[in-house]
Amino acid sequence: MIEVRHISKSFDGEQVLNDISVSFEQGKTNLIIGKSGSGKTVLLKCIIGLHEVDQGEIYYSGNNFTAMNIMDKKKVRQKFGMLFQGGALFDSLTVEENVRFKLDMFTGMTTREKQERVDFCLKRVNLENKNDLYPAELSGGMKKRVAIARAIVLNPRYLFCDEPNSGLDPQTAILIDKLIIEITEEFNMTTIVNTHDINSVMEMGDKVVYIDKGKKWWEGSNLDILNTDNEELNNFLFANKMVRQLKNINDSRQ
């Protein structure tokens, strides 16, 4: 479980996050949603410690991450898996080397054990026989899947995904969403996904937190979201004409 307590963050005097408190539950897919520039990426980067917060605390399984020294933070981070927006695969390494990287760095496994683990993770994301390809030779969806395989290779307790569907076609985006849901349940992780994709919200939002102008405006599940009367959230989610019509049909049925 991850708890965020009253965190604030500003850059050059501009307040980007303002007194945000929220908790993300284990074994569930937690979504942070909001418009571009709403502060959701800054919030995610504060949670994982890439940005220092100005105020407030972040707790991982009850331990205050913000108060930890560098060495303790490194130990916690070894339990992280992260899926970046562009994949952030290491260009100079092959698919196999990218996935094996954490095993080489943090374990004393034998070459055979590592190979088995890498093969398992690549199979899990449906990417077999691509071991020797370089990131430049992969499609956007394949890069995301390799990044997921790299993220889960050490059985992380926490998975963070920054806009996992950006740049993907709707079908591939749904595949990635399903994969995130499946591995969250399989590894019983606390997963936080940053997105502004309505499909993802409906597909995997066990818990949804809506951020705008650096403040938390709403939280609930993807089922609650259809019936919310929060105007800001409705304007954000149902900006698309077709989706708005579907919501109207849903409202009239009720």
Partner: protein, 246 residues
């Protein structure tokens, strides 16, 4: 104030780069890769430039010492001292600042803007140490070898050019090369090459590591890396010459 900020950030980055590695074996593999990328791959350019510079130094010296009172073996002596004292360390370092410096800055800069450095940090890896330390060590190990290569090829180029142009005989050139030879000049040159290698690797890594933005900023960091490395090479050339030769 901005200069002080840069000095402070540079010092902190170097301190982080020299922190204890997470896993020595991984750093060893990276060191070997960097030795190939930064050192072995520079052999060609160093050899070509040294050959032609040695040739030009010899011919220019010959045409500027046409006085019959000056013995022709001085051509070999002047070429030797020019190559040993300045060319093989300083000029080669300036050339490598362009080749190696831009490579380091653009590689690390691209990793920064594509979030690969963030990915390393999230994994609990000291990205500064993992990315920069092997480059510094690899380049400092190989720079003296490149310098020695430059000396040998430069003197050889001078001999070929001098004899081909008919400005000096082989016997006079070789006599000049051996005349009043001071072995310390080689040590002086090698010390300079090691320090210049450190400057190129760290300044370029600094510019790459603190790149923010996109492709345009990576190019800008790369240019700044070459410019600043070159300026510091010239500054330290002056300081080291005063310290080591006075």
């Amino acid at each position: 104030m901005i200069i002080l900020q840069h000095i402070g950030r540079y010092s902190l980055l170097i301190k982080r780069a020299f922190a204890r590695p997470e896993k020595h074996k991984m750093y060893y593999f990276r060191l070997i890769r960097e030795m190939e990328a930064l050192g072995i791959n520079s052999v060609g350019i160093v050899a070509i430039i040294s050959f032609f510079m040695g040739a030009v130094i010899t011919i220019q010296t010959a045409y500027n010492t046409e006085n019959p009172l000056l013995p022709t073996y001085l051509i070999g002596l002047a070429a030797r001292d020019s190559i040993l004292l300045e060319f093989s360390s300083t000029i080669v370092a300036l050339i490598l600042a362009g080749k190696v410096g831009s490579r380091i800055a653009s590689e690390i800069g691209t990793m920064r803007v594509t979030e690969q450095i963030d990915a390393l940090e999230i994994m609990g890896i000291n990205s500064a140490s993992y990315l920069i330390l092997p480059k510094i060590v690899a380049f400092m190990i190989l720079a003296p070898f490149l310098s020695v290569l430059s000396m040998v090829v430069g003197i050889f180029g001078g001999w070929i050019a001098g004899v081909s142009a008919g400005v000096v005989s082989t016997a006079d050139y070789v006599y000049g090369i051996r005349f009043a030879f001071i072995p310390y000049y080689i040590v002086y040159s090698l010390i300079k090459s090691v320090i210049f290698a450190f400057l190129i690797a760290t300044i370029s890594a600094y510019h790459g590591y603190y790149t923010s933005g996109g492709a345009l900023e990576v190019g800008r960091s790369s240019t700044l890396a070459v410019v600043h490395s070159s300026v510091f090479i010239l500054l330290f050339n002056l300081i080291l010459t005063q310290l080591l030769l006075s």
